[in-house]
Amino acid sequence: MAQLEEVKIDLYKHLVSERALNGETMLLNMGPQHPSTHGVLRLLLELDGEMIINAVPDIGYLHTGIEKNMEAKTYLKAEVMTDRLDYMNTVGNNLAYCMAVEKLVDLDVPERAQAIRVILTELQRIASHLVWIGTFGLDLAAMSMFLYAFREREIILDILELCSGQRMMTTFIRPGGLWRDVPVEFETAVRDFIKMFNKRIDEYEALLTKNPLFLDRLLGIGKLDAATALQHGVTGPMLRASGVSWDLRKARPYMGYEQYDFNVPVATEGDTYARYVVRVQEFRESLKIVEQALNKLPMGPVRSDNRKFVPPPRSEIGVSMEALIHHFKLWTEGFPAPKASVYSAVESPRGELGVYLEGDGGPKPHRVHWRTPSFDNLSVLPKIVKGHLVADLVAILASTDIVLGDIDR
């Protein structure tokens, strides 16, 4: 570690107003160990009484160098790191990465694998929104909401465990398909969840949607208009709450999303309450997609039979010499990818999750860049909190639904 230079005031002076420099306003640190910053985010606040004049987010506390680390691993081995980025959307990260690899080496995915990918990512979206609604309630002093949301999320994690053996870091989706087929109990487990969860959304809405305390805290707070949102690269539910109907599942369908009938919830107000409304409606839409995908789940293989990129099934290794060679080559040297770059994006619970993947002709990526939605969604925060009270900052921050693992990578 290099010696820390003396802090140069000139480097930071422009971040706050003149009044802070002569002590008229107060500078206050919020975080990085503050319970409502949802992780390790530090906010430098300039306050006039209780009113926020400036907010300067300071990120990087959770930086793990995943992009650099992935350059040193083969395409198959680098995938385990993708779970650790946005730890609320692990299956979605796998999907984004695998789609980029599949695009780079031109690999097809069987239909059954596509449908299972859709079911799992939509369940994950529900789980992610459940964590959001729970912590959102918690930040606004609706403690019971947190307990209800985590009770339901547990069932989704159980379904993931049923498929992959892991509750969170599944790495279940692999380039060319899935790790293995889902077990027979999968269908009943998901159907039970759908039946149960439809009623639960009504219960959440009964608790929160028309709650006068809730409305008082949210209506008209943290307004974000569509033009500012686009300028700051805001995507996902935050953009849709500002009146722009933009969802990659509809706009550029992948994994067969075009065959499912679902709506893209949009609200026009752009305030904290609109963001709540959009996400609650997304619960219902995701559930609709899961049900449709489950109804027409096709039979067949769950991974591509292109042995140059996809490892053979375990059963073949004992009997086929070629399968053994492929298995050995894929897990030691890896497969080569062309010297070119691709950008592929999916709609994560937070917005556009893009992967820029560049190969160099060898078995390891030359460069992997994660375009993570939380990063850009947070960058707009200083604009929307100006002029609000500190207590409102907590509500606004919770409504942006950031995940620090996603921001810092």
Partner: protein, 170 residues
């Protein structure tokens, strides 16, 4: 190539003398560093590329000129098309004009590139590191920045790994 995109690319070629690269249906247009602000403004105002989806860079060390490519991934919501601009930058004192005045999202993205690659953006309103702590030496995502452990050398990649080892060469 998409019809709507073909027209835009043609204009880019005429106006900026850009070269073109196509891979798996993606279009990459190469632009010189001094043209980038003009090109982004044109694409935003005239061709409705409202969103700068991603901004990143790639290091081609030990190649010195151009050593870096700065990548701008643009999306048009109205037309539902995407376009990638690539700006080759030389290795000694890499400098690109800032795009913050065209897309505000570039503010944090450019800070990230300054932090990770040491690419300077001229006229950036807030040129500080964003992820690494102040006072860090070096730029982690550069190819000559060691990862922190020794990579195993095989016959097929012996020289390639030897080249990026940090010890003094004879």
């Amino acid at each position: 190539m998409d019809n709507k995109l073909e027209k835009i690319v043609q204009v880019m070629q005429e106006q900026f003398g850009s070269t073109l690269e196509e891979f798996r249906g993606e279009v990459h247009v190469f632009v010189k560093p001094e043209q980038i602000v003009e090109a982004l403004t044109l694409l935003r105002d005239k061709y409705e590329f409202e969103l700068l989806s991603a901004m990143t860079a790639s290091d081609y060390w030990p190649q010195a000129s151009p050593r870096f490519h700065v990548v701008y991934q643009l999306s048009s919501l109205a037309k539902n098309i995407t376009l990638q601009l690539r700006v080759p930058v030389n290795g000694d004192q890499p400098r690109v004009p800032t795009a913050t005045r065209v897309y505000e999202v570039a503010n944090w993205r450019e800070r990230e590139l300054l932090d990770m690659f040491g690419i300077e953006f001229e006229g950036h309103p807030d040129p500080r590191r964003i992820l690494m702590p102040e006072g860090t030496e070096g730029h982690p995502l550069r190819k000559d920045f060691p990862l922190g452990y020794e990579e195993p050398q095989f016959t097929f990649n012996f020289e390639e790994i030897d080249l990026r080892k940090p010890y003094a060469k004879e």
